[in-house]
Symmetry: none
Subunit: 156 residues, 2 copies
DNA sequence: CTTAAAATCATACTAAAGTATGAGTGTGCA
DNA sequence: TGCACACTCATACTTTAGTATGATTTTAAG
């Protein structure tokens, strides 16, 4: 019984609504035509009611547009194209071996302290390397250094 | 003149339509009432016309409901191929529009001050956005944020 | 209309990054 | 041998980044 109700909920609702609407129309007809003969008002009421019906029907029944967004889920193929490091550019910029190591770790998002611990040197040493790197790359910040060096292909 | 037309295009269209409708109604009234007195048919026509009007108005004026279906499609791509932006991941991380803008500029190596000037907001605002970004990305620094977001493909 | 999220900004603080300068140590090479 | 250079480190300083908290304003959605 409950299942039946749920299944035909809409149909029932619409049926009852339409029945109510018919009653309303009959009443209006009686009220205006039989009693007062106010034809124009009656027509106006009919128009208003059916406009509302149209609006209501549309809102209820129109299928929502379906936007299908295809998201491409990336699956990386390991080592299909070995990223080529631009050694010529490294030589051109005269970046030393140690500076390259610092630059790599920088690009991984490590802090100067973490780089220092990773390379077993002091924080000050890393700062010195950093400053030298920035000067050679002609940038002002580590974020720029990472961006530029990736763009130039001198790190992965 | 052209600008005027474009601006009031809708209004004009609706006005003309309504005028046409009125003519139709007058004609119907004349046809059925004066000539054949088919009252019920006249009422029926009115009802039909205004139901149609309601439907038409609703379709024209109401924003279309949209259901968004996200279909994930696996795509194999080598790392060298410029990865397209992973909108699903952005949604997953709940990064807002503004946060994405800040993240983009961060990845370009801009300082918070430069980002603030670029987006015409205060330095403090950029700092707030930054902190929110770091929290959502579960990182501690801007360099990590850039690294991770590039790895996830949520920025170029 | 009301609620919730997003965006804005401020103040005050701590932490990290970056600069400037100087200096000691090892290494390869002319 | 000495000399340039890479690497190391320190001190002292300035600048930028990041955190915490609270408040106001816009905007989107129910």
């Amino acid at each position: 019984m409950q299942a039946f109700y749920n299944k035909y909920k809409r149909t029932l609702l619409y049926g009852i609504s339409l029945a109510a609407l018919l009653f309303l129309l009959r009443w209006l007809e009686f009220r205006f035509l039989v009693l007062s003969h106010a034809m124009d008002i009656y027509i106006g009421a009919i128009a208003a009611i059916f406009t509302a019906l149209g609006i209501w029907l549309t809102l209820k029944l129109v299928k929502p547009k379906t936007n299908t967004i295809v998201v491409e889920k990336e699956v990386y193929l390991p080592q299909t194209t070995p990223a080529q490091i631009n050694q010529a550019e490294i030589d051109n910029l005269a970046l030393s071996k140690r500076e390259m190591e610092v630059l790599q770790l920088m690009a991984k998002g490590l802090s100067n302290k973490e780089i220092a611990d990773g390379l077993f040197v002091s924080l000050n040493t890393v700062k010195t390397h950093s400053s030298n790197i920035f000067e050679k790359l002609d940038v002002k910040r580590r974020t720029q250094a990472v961006e530029k060096s990736k763009r130039l292909g001198i790190i992965v």
